[in-house]
Symmetry: C2
Subunit: 280 residues, 2 copies
């Protein structure tokens, strides 16, 4: 059985710590193989302190097609870019970086669009909705920005780092002045869309990130956490009758855009799902 | 078909340029897979100017088991070590690096021992032999040092960079004062062992690295170049009746020692050969 790695293999690095919950290699790599594309997504557990020096050097490798960025590096990555896409500029974070023909670092943020694409695919419109997004880091910022772009009427933002939350609110107000923006409460009551974009739920024994008892049964509940087939938070929401979206859905829904960004043929999400080697 | 790359996968980087002729991934990776070890050897085409900054950061990745070093970085790698093994100290070059428990960079040079192990496996004794080694870079230095250690009587060294050649000769004289050391001629006549340790032969259309017509039919001829199944130089030597050793043999013969260095179970060379996914 051929492993498919040889001297012509290109690399997309997947940068973050911890690496154990990484799912992207199990989705991208079978697809590359099925298409006969000599490229692998390789996990790289980069420490936060090393990231600003490591990323630019990594992207100078002759066979590096780019890097996927995950926690805790998404905000730091945005600060390293020579050119940031619109979503990255609004979010102040970035989850895909490459070098352009002149060697400049170019990046964008695809998490939010992936999240909203998943919602739409499940029949949940964002237009006119009220949403709570817990977590104002890289992925939370992206989801909030994508919800704003998709026509949300009201956005409540919450983070244990109140300053990060206020900064995000400020950036969103600049770009979307008509949206009702609130900060300081993580009460899900009264929201049509409730999102956990914090890391709470990654570790076994974590408390629920939000009070699931106060989520309306008609609300749509999303979680970005990738650990396990269904997080306890989503299980609690589903038990209340809510429709839900798992972190892995957000991953799948943005891959076609990522592949295009890195210069590969675009893939269909259902093709990626069919080929993926996930256990769940 | 499972690609075998996931969140728990460790990486051994294979650093060098160009990457196209890399063979190690096709040998290590099937073996890792057959043993159920979650590790891959991944090619990384690092530019020489980036190498000193990139290597230490790369080895700080939580899931990096170490790095294999190939052209043109073997000499530079030796200069970055906190602790060098005996072979690396003699050669001034290094082809395997890891961090120890204290974060120090530890490395050694296995090319020479691999080359000599291959010679011995083919029935060619080094004790008392006269050898020409063309190329005084990382691999040439390693082969010369290993031939000296194995009891060669006379060593002729040649490099288009005469200073590099003289520096190597000086280091060898210090450690092996009884060997007859010569520099400045690449005439293979009169030698029992003739080695091309230059990159000449990597590119199609390269001239022969040495004058094959002046090699004695009873001589043993080795080449370190990995391009193609048999280099034109080895083909010419074989046509004269010489026994030969290809670059890939040197690669295979040192892998058990590399695996042990990186903390994996040692492998048998014949098991590696049986599993390898080489075309030749």
């Amino acid at each position: 059985m051929h492993t498919g790695i040889g001297g012509r293999t290109r690399i997309i690095a997947l940068l973050g710590v911890p690496t154990v919950t990484f799912k992207a290699p199990l989705i991208y790599n079978p697809w590359f193989r099925s298409r006969g594309i000599e490229c692998i997504v390789a996990p790289m557990g980069c420490e936060a302190a090393d990231f600003p020096a490591f990323l630019p050097l990594l992207l100078r490798l002759r066979n590096c097609a780019g890097a996927l960025i995950t926690m805790p590096h998404k905000v730091a990555a945005a600060g390293l870019l020579d050119e940031a896409g619109l979503a990255a500029r609004i979010c102040g974070s970035c989850n895909a970086v490459k070098r352009d023909g002149d060697g400049r670092l170019v990046g964008d943020m695809f998490d939010g669009e992936g999240f909203v694409a998943g919602l739409r695919g499940k029949g949940r419109s964002v237009q006119g909705a009220s949403a709570l997004v817990a977590g104002s880091g890289g992925v939370g910022s992206a989801i909030a920005a994508a919800l704003a772009r998709a026509g949300a009427r009201r956005l409540a933002l919450f983070d244990i780092d109140g300053d990060a939350c206020e900064r995000l609110a400020g950036r969103l107000r600049t770009h979307y002045p008509d949206i009702a923006l609130e900060t300081g409460s993580n009460d899900p009551q009264g929201h049509d869309i409730v999102v956990n974009a914090t890391p709470v739920g990654m570790k076994p024994g974590d408390p629920l990130p939000l009070d699931a008892d106060r989520i309306a049964p008609g609300a749509f509940v999303g979680d970005v956490v990738l650990a396990g087939e269904e997080t306890p938070f989503l299980a609690a929401a589903r038990a209340r009758g809510c429709r839900t979206q798992a972190g892995i859905d957000m991953v799948f829904e943005q891959i076609p855009a990522h592949l295009e960004f890195f210069g590969f043929p675009a893939a269909a999400t259902d093709e990626l799902r069919r080929l993926a080697e996930l256990d769940g």
